[in-house]
């Protein structure tokens, strides 16, 4: 009986459906916590000259106003992989660098009173001119990192090319903006010189280390606990760590517990966003459609401060710069710039949407110029099934796949040939119908060492090399035979508890309902490491691997005890139906409950080599994730899935509105652990990708004010707008993971923006366009054509 692979309903759901979820704002873990409201800069760039808190302090119920200066006295600036000329602190001291930056915190008896008083804090500013776009930042000299990479001989190959495509691609700032924002409850203990924080943080726990360092608590004096439930994240909540520092410092300064629940306006203006990226591509093709040279010149806007883990958005995909293609000669120039906008961070797709918007856009443009169907162009360049494991020129090891079959499956699902016939007929009628495709390698399980590529090999050689991706899990069997699993993958809705119950049930011969899975992460209790958390789609590979290994250790102990009791060889014991039984014998069996009882109540009766207690913690690290090599190659991720998408769109000549008529996606995510949850990830990732293709953008005015600062202005996809989607799967199991599974939650966020863009390119017969493809923008593209 295998539970893994079955589309089981989720064990998480009943609690959530009854309104009994426990999210951060539902918790009251410490008595008497005060409420905090953050005073924020209204200017994108200004010198902060004075703060007068007297009126606020006189306001009812106000305990204190803590200024950025007071926070700075208890904290250190945050560190990132690159040193920058501007110190990044939890709150501004003398200079503000984006509208929404914290400058003070008001602490009061309740939130209403705190917000009243926050408006009374009088802050004097001397405004300065903000820098707001990536290219303006280059012109202003706000470049904090400039690295060039050459693999093979891209310039030489360019001379052999029959067609050279040079094109500029700008990917916009946007945000996955979860419906639940940030929350922090901070409780400083002067007796222990220690801070306990409850927060809906999602990892990576490299950022917990960054928070501890900024608080001056690098050893075991920062205890971080996540709530049982978290209302989505899509990467964004990684950035809550700077507020852990801010509220931690406020709690320490005042000696009282403090709770802060972010509101939506704060979230959109000042939490995190994707990078805005300008990419100049230079790509060489032969007449028969072979991509032989590929160069990127990238300007990456990380906002007002380089906030760790940035510039990770730029390097997460470094091993996959060649995408799904066999091109061997590749170059990249990566410039990271600062602007006066909210700092960037994790956001679903994380570098993938930006990379593929440029690469797959280039492929579509080349196909049109060469007069080759884009499907044929892809087929002439895809890595072939026989080439796996395939090492890319930039150092990734693609574990498994059959890209051509996957692409053909998507084409068959959508009915590509039929759509091309209908498109021809529609065009003859003067309608603007287009078809776009994209082929996307979806990396998962990030190498903790890839960010060090922002330094040169020589700079790297001075520090501790970083590599791998480690995860831990703990499994225990109680004296009554109950099984409890603790995971450190901080889920925010993905259903990790359900999948873990399936994996463990298979191991122990139980049913998923017999397994209790605890996803609360307490840094003083759980088995975690710096890579722990929920990002880079790492759960199905690493979370599962850690659980699998811990469950195997428990299984081995159970079998030893059973073999001792049944007087048989350990190898002859199997676990089934809640029992340990002798293989092939109906009656020779002992219940797990009895075995557990023995391990706890009667340790004297245990066989040699079995410790009492039945509790096992395992750590695993992903294979093949070496530190960055001296030639700047890097296995930036451990596992690589594949996504092929086809979009059919129609553009309304009168309004510029883009309607997605049909959309098919085929994934290869290796072994599917729970197809029901897989479908949920595909649809959710697609909605985000289609959102940035058509609607979603963080827009700023010329003074640097966010003009999409509410849900009335930042347009998230709703049920009426989300395009129809048909999805299917092929499975080539990963040889690198415990159960052959790969990550899959981000692929469609990488693929959908460029797939829809390519369909609009095809509809209009144009090359250059910008996302999101709002009606007004598209109308401006149509105008010159008619």
């Amino acid at each position: 009986m295998s539970w893994v692979g079955k589309p089981l309903e989720r064990i998480e759901d009943e609690t959530l459906l009854r309104g009994r979820g426990r999210f951060i704002d539902d918790l009251n873990p410490v008595p008497g916590a005060y409420h905090a409201a953050v005073v924020r800069s209204p200017y994108a760039a200004a010198h902060l000259t004075s703060i007068d808190a007297s009126a606020a302090l006189a306001s009812p119920g106000v305990l204190a106003v803590v200024t950025g200066q007071q926070v700075a006295e208890l904290t250190k600036p945050f560190h990132a992989v690159i040193d920058t000329p501007v110190a990044f602190r939890a709150a501004a001291v003398e200079e503000v660098r984006y509208a929404g930056e914290p400058v003070a915190v008001v602490v009061a008896r309740d939130r209403y009173l705190a917000e009243d008083a926050a408006e009374m804090v009088a802050v004097e500013y001397e405004p300065a001119a903000p820098v707001l776009t990536p290219l303006d930042a280059v012109a202003a000299g706000a470049i904090v990192s400039d690295r060039s990479f050459v693999y093979g001989d891209p310039l030489g190959k360019l001379e052999e090319a029959d067609l050279v495509v040079t094109e500029s691609f700008t990917f916009p700032r946007w945000t996955g903006t979860p419906v639940e924002g940030f929350g922090v409850i901070a409780d400083w203990s002067a007796a222990d010189d220690a801070l306990t924080v409850w927060t809906n943080f999602q990892g990576p726990f490299t950022l917990y280390m960054a928070a501890a360092a900024a608080l001056g608590l690098p050893r075991s004096k920062l205890r971080l606990i996540t709530p049982p439930d978290s209302g989505g994240s899509f990467g964004i909540k990684a950035a809550v760590y700077t507020y852990v520092v801010l509220m931690g410092a406020v709690s320490r300064h005042l000696g009282v517990p403090v709770r802060w629940i972010e509101d939506r306006l704060e979230h959109l203006a000042a939490s995190a966003a994707s990078t805005e990226r300008v990419t100049e591509v230079t790509a060489g093709f032969t007449n028969d459609g072979k991509l032989i040279s590929l160069g990127y010149d990238v300007v990456e806007d990380v906002g007002a401060y380089l906030r760790a883990p940035e510039p990770a958005t730029l390097y997460r995909m470094h091993g996959s710069l060649s995408g799904a293609y066999t091109v061997q000669d590749v170059s990249a120039r990566n410039r990271v710039v600062l602007t006066n906008r909210c700092p960037t961070g994790l956001n679903r797709g994380f570098g993938g949407p930006q990379l593929y918007f440029a690469l797959e856009g280039t492929m579509a443009i080349a196909a049109a110029r060469l007069g080759i169907d884009p499907v044929d162009l892809a087929h002439r360049n895809l890595v072939a099934a026989g080439e796996f494991p395939y090492t890319t020129p930039t150092g990734a090891i693609y574990d498994s796949g059959d890209y051509a079959v996957c692409l053909d499956d998507a084409l068959a699902t959508v009915g590509y040939a039929e759509h091309r016939r209908r498109q021809a007929a529609a065009r003859a009628d003067g309608r603007l119908v287009g078809i776009g495709i994209a082929c996307v390698v979806e990396p998962s399980v990030s190498n903790m060492g890839y960010i060090s590529l922002a330094e040169t090999a020589q700079e790297r050689s001075g520090g501790l090399p970083k590599s791998g991706n480690t995860e831990g899990a703990t499994i225990s069997m109680s004296p009554g035979g109950g099984v409890v699993v603790q995971i450190s993958t901080t889920p925010q809705g993905q259903g990790h508890r359900t999948v873990v119950s399936q994996v463990v049930a298979d191991q122990l011969g139980l049913e998923p309902g017999d397994i209790e899975v605890v996803s609360v992460l307490d840094t003083h209790v759980n088995a975690w490491s710096i890579a722990s958390g929920n990002y880079s789609s790492r759960f199905s590979a690493m979370g599962v691997a850690a659980v699998q290994q811990a469950a195997e250790e428990l299984t081995a102990a159970i079998k030893q005890i059973a073999a001792h009791e049944l007087e048989c060889a350990v190898l002859d014991v199997e676990l089934r139906d809640g029992k340990a039984a002798v293989v092939g014998q109906q009656d020779a069996a002992v219940s797990l409950r009895r075995i557990a009882g023995k391990a706890h109540w009667n340790p004297e009766a245990l066989p040699d080599g079995v410790a009492p207690g039945l509790r096992f913690t395992s750590f695993v690290s992903a294979p093949g994730l070496e530190p960055a090599a001296s030639d700047d190659t890097i296995a930036s991720s451990a596992v690589h899935g594949f996504v092929a998408d086809v979009a059919v769109v129609e553009v309304d000549r009168e309004t510029g509105a883009v309607t997605v008529l049909d959309y098919a996606t085929t994934h290869d995510a290796g072994t599917l652990l729970n197809p029901r949850l897989v479908e949920g990830q595909v649809r959710g990732g697609f909605a985000h990708g289609a959102g940035v293709a058509l609607m979603e953008r963080l827009a700023y005015d010329e003074d640097g004010n966010l003009i999409t600062a509410s849900f009335m202005d930042y347009l998230c996809m709703t049920a009426s707008e989300v395009p129809p989607l048909r999805s299917s799967h092929i499975e080539t199991p990963s040889p690198f993971t415990a159960l052959g599974a790969k990550g899959l939650g981000e692929g469609n966020t990488m693929s959908a923006p460029v797939t829809i863009a390519n369909a609009v390119r095809d509809a209009l017969g144009i090359e250059r366009l910008e996302l999101p493809l709002t009606p007004s923008r598209v109308w401006e593209l149509i105008e010159p054509l008619s």
Partner: protein, 157 residues
């Protein structure tokens, strides 16, 4: 302070509230009914939707003082003991929730919608849902769940 007498999920409450206290905060923090969630506090995301006197409302756009004498229904009152409401059951069956943060508001809006609709189709359901933001599911399973319950209700006598 204002005296408020209100029935929530069949239970009577008498509370003194500040005039400006939002209904959402009253439910969550005064009564401890934290199933009603707050996602935007400006009436767009729909997470805080509850039913007041048989009309779905955004509890972040209503004051606690306004529900004096009213009957309020929240997600905590939806199931009948051990038995989930048909919508809750359909949501679970169709994987129509992931993080579950927007779910209570969508459930309450859907209860109200089905009570006042006659055999709604998918398009009408999607239109109703356009007042709710879900960032996890891509909506299709939610539409499917509500549609399935609408069809069930249409078949029952």
């Amino acid at each position: 302070m204002i005296e408020v007498s209100v029935t929530v999920n069949g239970r009577a409450y008498e509370e003194a509230v500040a005039p400006r206290l939002l209904l959402s905060d009253f439910l969550r923090h005064t009564l401890g009914l934290t199933g009603t969630h707050v996602g935007c506090e400006h009436g767009v995301c729909g997470s805080c939707t509850v039913i007041v006197d048989d009309r779905s409302v955004r509890s972040c756009l209503m004051l606690a003082a306004q529900v004096d004498g009213a009957e309020v229904r929240t997600v905590e009152g939806l199931a009948d003991g051990d038995e989930l409401h048909p919508l809750q059951a359909a949501f679970r069956r169709n994987h129509a929730l992931q993080c579950g943060f927007c779910t209570p508001g969508i459930l309450m809006a859907s209860v109200d919608f089905l009570e006042r609709s006659d055999s709604p189709g998918r398009r009408q359901i999607a239109e109703m849902l356009s007042g709710h933001l879900c960032r996890c599911t891509g909506y299709e399973p939610i539409v499917e769940s509500i549609h399935a319950v609408a069809l069930q209700e249409g078949q029952s006598p």
